[in-house]
């Protein structure tokens, strides 16, 4: 009976990831909704606002073509933000469903319930971003990244998604209801707007501009933009990765603490 108390974190996590992926397939309306949002914003900004906003960028070509290259990083972050909104919802669903109580009374690696959500959501985020980039390419997005740039880009996006997923795994656990869980991560959706996502920060006035320049999403979007367009990333990359590490650590510690909390 000595073997009974040993844990299998890898095996248990795999089981939990499989569970979460199955749940996404079984509950497609949410998955579709989460991916439709960034695509609609992409189309809206390119076709409705793109002409005017692009002209304001003052680039060599100007207009719509210039603007889509500028705003794809923001759309990618919004894609991650909507995905993690789904994470918060499914974590909250678990918490209200009673199945978590079952997992807690079983001799399984405790962290596997959470890693199942995290890895499941990361897979979903990358699938969604692939679809969004596909749509962007169809409507005129022209990235000039090298192979190394693409690899670095995947790394940065993974770091961002990883950090935000852990944060929302915690948020999902604090929510008293599924409805609350779906609205609590909303601010993440708006952060790209209050940064360099859709317009350069120097066009924003006063205190808002100060916020826009120093909030975490701005260096992240600047890094993604630089990598996509094969420009030098400068300090932005390290600032971005530091933010991601900080948010990930905070989210992880918070989420784990909530999960292990004993009343």
């Amino acid at each position: 009976m000595t073997a009974a108390a040993t844990t299998h974190p890898l095996r248990d996590s795999t089981t939990m990831v499989r569970r979460n992926l199955k749940r996404m397939v079984r509950y497609p309306s949410m998955t579709v909704q989460l991916i439709a949002m960034p695509i609609l914003l992409l189309l809206l900004f390119v076709y409705v606002f793109g002409g005017t906003l692009g002209a304001g960028l003052g680039g060599p070509s100007g207009g719509r073509a210039e603007y889509i290259n500028y705003m794809v990083p923001a759309i990618l972050l919004i894609t991650i933000a909507t995905t993690v909104q789904g994470t918060a919802v499914s974590v909250a669903m678990d918490m209200t469903d009673g199945i978590i109580a079952r997992f807690r009374t079983m001799n399984i690696a405790r962290v596997s319930v959470l890693t199942g959500h995290v890895i499941g959501s990361l897979i979903q985020a990358f699938l969604s971003m692939a679809v969004v980039i596909g749509v962007a390419l169809l409507i005129g997005f022209e990235p000039s990244a090298s192979l190394g740039g693409w690899l670095a880009l995947v790394g940065v996006l993974a770091a961002v998604a990883f950090a935000l997923v852990w944060l929302t795994v915690a948020i999902g656990q604090t929510s008293q209801s599924v409805e609350a869980a779906s609205s609590l991560p909303m601010p993440l959706m708006f952060l790209p707007f209050l940064g360099s996502g859709f317009v350069p920060t120097d066009s924003i006035p006063g205190g808002l501009r100060w916020f826009a320049e120093y909030q975490p999403f701005t260096p992240i979007m600047e890094s993604i933009r630089a990598l996509l367009m094969d420009n030098p990333v400068g300090d932005d990359l390290w600032i971005a990765l530091t933010w991601c590490a900080g948010i990930a650590l905070l989210g992880y510690v918070w989420a784990k603490r909530l999960y292990n909390r004993k009343a």
């Binding site: 009974a4 108390a5 089981t15 569970r19 749940r23 079984r26 469903d97 199945i99 079952r102 079983m106």
Partner: protein
């Protein structure tokens, strides 16, 4: 079995408070292996809190609790490896099918692929879920969901199973099915810790019953022992011939009351062996011909109301 005499559950002085609200106020329990123990109490008496502590979901504020010899606070993983829990709120994944739920449990219990296949098929069959195996659990009826829930608990072959109000909200048929399953499990050597607010259920299943009220155990014993503590029991004597009836009436005198029915007598009796023997001796001495004799103890409803009632009834409880 390294030690058959070791109790499956042993609890002493268990306390739990949330803030300044005391939910459990010093509980002592001992549940032998392979028996059914029922914790009876109204809503809010502390039944679920007890189960949560014993199943390692929450930690106690004081006292000691051991399950199959492992301390729930210091060695929760060993406890978890030995127990299964089925609560009143179903713990199934609604988006997965019945089969997928069971397979997931097999994976979490680290069964081999072959064992997983066999165990899943066996449990689906046993709980009459084979037909619905490939439908999502969200489409199941209340009874099916509870069966799936229990099946998931059984995947890991637990030695101790906690059933927290397992039949609350079930129709009578499903309830009987659940009872049957519980009896089968105990026959296999599993220990069952059952909480319920249905007296009938405790009466039907439990080897021992403890009555919980406001965080304290107000009584503990077999159903019969509990019933005997309440006055109001009697013996009903039935006679086939008027002559026997008349003799008995003469012998027992004022002790006997006719039961409305022409040839039956109701004799107050606490139902204990001693007082029954005394009654039979009296009848035998006069060669009274009794057709049938039945002992009527108060049912558990009487017991429950007397034990958990208002202060008037407390005189009865406080021996």
């Amino acid at each position: 079995m390294k030690n058959a005499a070791q109790p499956a559950i042993s609890v002493s002085g268990l306390r739990k408070s949330f803030g300044d609200k005391t939910v459990l106020d010093g509980i002592d329990l001992n549940v032998p292996q392979g028996t059914i123990f029922s914790l009876l109490g109204a809503n809010g008496a502390g039944k679920t809190t007890t189960v949560k502590i014993l199943s390692t979901l929450i930690v106690a504020s004081g006292g000691r609790a051991e399950v199959v010899g492992h301390d729930v606070a210091s060695d929760p993983d060993s406890v978890r490896a030995a127990i299964g829990v089925t609560g009143q709120f179903s713990a199934v994944d609604n988006l997965l099918t019945g089969e997928e739920n069971l397979r997931m449990m097999a994976d979490l219990n680290h069964l081999s692929k072959k064992d997983r296949q066999r165990r899943t098929a066996d449990l689906l069959e046993r709980f009459d879920l084979t037909e619905a195996a490939r439908k999502p659990a969200s489409t199941y009826s209340g009874g099916m969901r509870r069966r799936l829930d229990l099946a998931m608990t059984l995947v890991g072959n637990p030695r101790v199973i906690f059933l927290d109000e397992p039949t609350t909200g079930l129709d009578p048929r499903s309830r009987r099915g659940m009872w049957q399953t519980v009896r089968e499990l105990v026959a296999e050597g599993v220990t069952i810790f059952l909480t319920t607010q249905y007296l009938e259920e405790a009466d039907e299943l439990a080897d021992r019953i403890a009555v919980l009220e406001d965080g304290r155990l107000v009584a503990e014993g077999t159903a019969e022992q509990l019933k005997r503590r309440i006055p109001g029991g009697h013996v009903l004597l039935q006679f086939s011939e008027p002559s026997g009836f008349q003799t008995a009436q003469r012998v027992l005198g004022q002790d006997a009351h006719s039961d409305g029915d022409a040839l039956a007598l109701r004799v107050p009796n606490d139902g204990s062996l001693h007082s029954l023997k005394a009654l039979l001796d009296r009848l035998d001495h006069e060669s009274v011909d009794v057709d049938t004799l039945s002992v009527h103890t108060p049912d558990l409803d009487d017991v429950f109301l007397a034990l958990t009632g208002d202060s008037d009834n407390e005189k009865v409880i406080n021996r």
